[in-house]
Symmetry: C2
DNA sequence: AGCGCGTAAACTGTATGCAGATTGCAATCT
DNA sequence: AGATTGCAATCTGCATACAGTTTACGCGCT
């Protein structure tokens, strides 16, 4: 049985990482409610590990802002209110706008070319309504944008914010017609970047993310019930 | 709100928090060099604790991006190169610009009033060349700006970035004439915000931080030698 | 001499035990 | 009855012990 556990760890990461993901999911999907206590022993029993990895996982979740910790107290689920969610989506728009602006100014010829290719290739996925594949393309597309800004710290912030929002955004491409609209919005961004129009790229990226945000927040509040 | 509480906890040191700060300082001040290994036992001996708190501190430092961790490997000092530092200062300018813009649009009457008072009060410190006190005022001033944006996630990002840059910025007010210039720059920001001119506030905040960055980076590269 | 291979040392990951802090309850006092 | 203090159960913080993994070195083989 030790063997089995080891295999799973190899497959999905270390024990602690697994727990971080599992607990993060529970918090973010509303299985656990804000203020709910996360006592170490219960979690240890639940995941069939000792308290040590549980403590490390809680510390990491604390750093991620998903749980609040105070000395000698149980960690509690942080209040990821709808207001806070909204602030994250808004921040995402702002960050994406910055990336697009900087990308328009700084991307190398190769990067521009790759971005355009990536974008063009996705047209096929839209026609096929291949939601899974389009989602993968979408991630890649935005990642190229972030990298194109040539600023490591901004890249870090935007990817972290994106990761935290991921659970709330999962279903957006299921909305009818969203794929085609997303493609069109990407198109505006790409065009602006290709001609080095920083202001237009920034504006287009801002709107694009704002639209995604609206769709996702609806989804999130559905889920909260 | 939540953020403030967490900050205070950081100030109130448990063993782990103390270690996090101590190690972070060593990394950021160049006492430890990028790539240098942080093996758990050595640190435990050095701080005269067991490996358990060391591990938790390293995990937190990993989440902060100051050390890189891989399974079954020593944590190593992350590469906080001058390039990365530069990217953080640039990000700081961008974030501050966003905050100023949003603040100009969203600050309540009370917030605007408090900001102006805080700013006016600092004039006295400039004349007295009270560097320590002005630094405290400066922190307060910028914090008000960040809060004024009314976006918790952006507040979190900007304060975190600011915290990571703090060690590099400490000496900036010692530069001759910097206090008066800082005051003037603040003045432009405040004026723009008071009349709700988002674009002007944003522009002024961006320049202000860019200037601080330049001064600090000079200082940082001095220190690196 | 160079190349594997195996073994041991060093180190990380996890479990468990103990000490101190906190909380809730209950018995006592006002 | 309500408040208060003391005690017990519970939980966190840290130390120590053990298991599994990686790394480095030396030995033998070609």
């Amino acid at each position: 049985m030790k063997q089995i556990r080891r295999k799973q760890i190899i497959r999905t990461g270390t024990t602690v990482e697994q727990m971080v993901r599992a607990i993060a999911d529970m918090i973010v999907t509303g299985v656990m409610h804000p203020g709910e206590r996360l006592d170490e022993l219960s979690l240890a029993v639940r995941f069939d590990v000792s308290r040590t990895p549980v403590r490390e996982a809680l510390r990491e979740l604390g750093a991620m802002g998903l749980v609040d910790r105070e000395p000698n107290r149980s960690a509690v689920v942080a209040n990821v209110t709808e207001a806070y969610l909204h602030s994250m989506f808004e921040a995402m728009s702002e960050l994406e706008a910055i990336c697009a602006r900087l990308a328009a100014e700084r991307m190398t010829v190769d990067e521009r070319h790759a971005l355009e290719l990536e974008h063009r290739a996705s047209a096929r996925l839209v026609h096929a309504n291949a939601q899974e594949d389009y989602a993968a393309h979408n991630t890649e597309f935005h990642t190229r944008l972030y990298r194109g800004a040539h600023n490591d710290h901004i890249y870090e912030m935007v990817t972290q914010t994106r990761a935290r929002l991921a659970p709330f955004r999962r279903a957006q491409f299921r909305l009818p017609g969203r794929l085609a609209k997303s493609y069109d919005e990407h198109d505006v961004i790409v065009t602006a970047i290709m001609r080095g129009d920083a202001a237009a790229a920034s504006q287009a990226a801002f709107s694009h993310v704002a639209i995604v945000s609206d769709a996702s927040i609806v989804f999130a509040s559905d889920k909260a019930e």
